[in-house]
Amino acid sequence: MSRLTACIDAVKAANRKVLIPYLVAGDPDADTTVALMHQLVSDGADVIELGMPFSDPSSDGAIIQLGAERALRQGTGLHTVFGIVSSFRKTNHTTPIVLMGYLNPLEAIGYDSFVTQAADAGADGILIVDLPVSEAQSLLALTRPRNLDMIFLVAPTTTESRLDAICENSSGYIYYVSLKGVTGAAIIDTGEISERVSALRQRTMLPIVVGFGIKDTASANAMAAISDGVIVGSALVQKIGELTDSGKRDGAAIAGSTALIKQIRQSLDA
């Protein structure tokens, strides 16, 4: 069993909801990212999605694109991302890390090299936004032997025929996209999502977590009530952007930038 599956099983067994914050590797710099990750764990994160910055993030909204641009200005590359994971793993052996990003950086270094380095560094899962299941077989053939989970998105527009292929090839969890749009968008229709998540439950035993547009305790509670947990990305990246602008990197400033995650944890557990 992968570390990711074991972790989520334990959270569910304790009758809690999974909380997954997303941050961009290298935003504002590699050392601060590692500090932010440890802070997120102490705030109550169960899993961390670590964004691999890309110059052309066409599925993301403006907030995450700006985060990626800040990271790229620091020269962040995949070697930086693997370095951040290794560094985090020096003291944390339990919190699963999912690397999330776009395909071209993997194409540039080669899938084999990517999978080897990701696994060696201590990553647990991979989510490539612009890699649909139909094009993912060659990557899946490399991730399975290394016990890396491949996470795929399910969107409100996903057709029945695609759902089966996605469920069949996914492991770890299913990432349900709450809305039609990009990350950080505004409007969430709880009723429709609830129906879709229930339909997904008929097809898979995998945990289902909801992301896109979760920005506060209210939206987190609403989504957690109908799923196994929530992903919080843009709202956190926005706060990290403010941290960058402030120029401060001390413990208090870092804890301040992740306060939202702590609030959401407390709210989910209440």
Binding site: G77, T159, V177
Partner: protein, 423 residues
């Protein structure tokens, strides 16, 4: 009916073009059902867009086999666009080089001044059939934006055009043309503020408004089925050129030359000739300051395979896989990727891809103005510059067909600025 039309093989009004009717017979009838040209092409988009892309593929595969669809297309090509476009022997230009005849396929004479309208007419028919009231488009030089605004106005569709903020500045006349026709032009300020960023923003809009929106991609890139269907609409260029060559010269050309940004005018000219193995094919990329300087927009010449904007193809990216900024005097060629079918044609050796610099393109631009009284688009001037070099190496009894893909009215401010003149 004109003499020209009568000889266009397989393209009598209302018949399915033979390039589409011949299914799955040889290596040139691609892509496969998954949209692959060899290892290139495919579908690489976020899950939210997958259903829309698959629906478009289903609709196009069905409609493209129906003669009535092509009847509507051919009708608009003749009566609205003004096709067929002439094949014109540029005699004075050719004589400068003392070699092969340089013959221009005059796409610059189309309504809206470029080949882009061929594609937007076709895709507008698809949007209408699919019942989408809202269209979006990305544009670089503004030609595709204008062509999209044009068909939207004609069909009464809402139209939003994404354009890099830098391109909005350097192509202000086209911005105004789009606005005159009722389109909403949205300047894109993210990233490098050029065509690739406009494409990102259009993809985001599409994901957000996927239920009521049709995305008219302007080139043979993007996820499958776009590279296939844009090619099929643009292939009218090559079908006409082939028939016109046979009629006027009694044989096929010795070589074809076209500029390649995303590559739609080039694939449109090349595709109907792919099986004619004696016809040499040259795609000309934007060399900018020179490929060796790194400041260029020539992914086939100096890039490597990767994934960008929905397909696998040659891209300009750094060692970390980040997409690099491109440089070209021509906004329409200023793009770090290229259509996947070109990537495949390069690998199998059926087409040759070369580059010319900004300076060479500007020289060709001026030469065509002075010798032939034709102001070409700076994009097309890249093809022309290479054709001039190529002609000099060939015999006078040979001929080259160059796709003069657009007219240069939109570029006069750019050229004047280089000359230090305020227009």
């Amino acid at each position: 009916m004109s003499a020209l039309e009568t000889v266009v093989p397989g393209a009598a009004p209302g018949t399915v073009p033979d390039t589409i009717a011949s299914t799955g017979q040889d290596q040139f009838s691609g892509p496969d059902v998954h949209g692959h040209f060899g290892q290139y092409g495919g579908v690489f988009v976020g899950e939210t867009l997958m259903a829309a892309v698959e629906e478009l593929d289903r609709v196009y595969r069905k409609l493209s086999k129906e003669p009535s669809f092509w009847q509507a297309f051919d009708h608009d090509m003749k009566h609205y666009v003004g096709r067929p476009s002439p094949l014109y022997y540029a005699e004075r230009l050719s004589k400068q080089f003392g070699g092969a005849k340089i013959v221009l396929k005059r796409e610059d004479l189309n309504h809206t001044g470029a080949h882009k309208i061929n594609n937007t007419i076709g895709q507008a028919l698809l949007a209408k059939y699919m019942g989408k009231p809202r269209i979006i488009a990305e544009t670089g030089a503004g030609q595709h934006g204008v062509a999209s605004a044009t068909v939207a106005a004609r069909l009464g569709l809402e139209c939003h055009v994404y354009m890099g903020a830098e391109d909005v500045q350097r192509q202000s006349a086209n911005v105004y043309r789009m606005k005159l026709m009722g389109a909403n032009v949205i300047p894109v300020t993210s990233g490098s503020r050029t065509l690739k960023d406009a494409l990102n923003e259009a993809l985001r809009d599409w994901a957000t408004n996927v239920d009521n929106t049709y995305y008219i991609i302007g080139t043979v890139a993007g996820p499958h089925p776009y590279p296939m269907l844009v090619r099929d609409f643009q292939a009218i260029i090559g079908r006409e050129a082939r028939a016109q060559s046979l009629q006027e010269y009694g044989r096929l050309p010795d070589a074809l030359v076209a500029c390649v940004g995303g590559g739609s005018n080039a694939i449109g000219l090349f595709h109907p000739f792919l099986r004619d193995s004696d016809v040499a094919i040259y795609g000309v990329e934007a060399g900018g300051d020179g490929v060796e300087t790194g400041r260029h927009a020539a992914p086939l010449s100096a890039g490597k395979p990767g994934v960008l904007h929905g397909n696998r193809t040659y891209v300009m990216s750094d060692a970390n896989g980040q997409i690099m900024e491109t440089h070209s005097v021509s906004a329409g060629l200023d793009y770090p990727g290229v259509g996947p079918e070109h990537a495949w044609l390069k690998d199998i050796g059926r087409a040759n891809y070369v580059s010319v610099t900004d300076t060479e393109a500007l020289d060709a631009f001026r030469m065509l103005c002075r010798l032939e009284g034709i102001i070409p688009a700076l994009e097309s001037a890249h093809g022309l510059a290479y054709a001039c070099k190529l002609a000099a190496t060939m015999r006078p009894d040979q001929f080259i067909v160059v796709n003069l893909s657009g007219r240069g009215d939109k570029d006069i401010h750019t050229v004047a600025k280089i000359d230090g003149i305020t227009v």
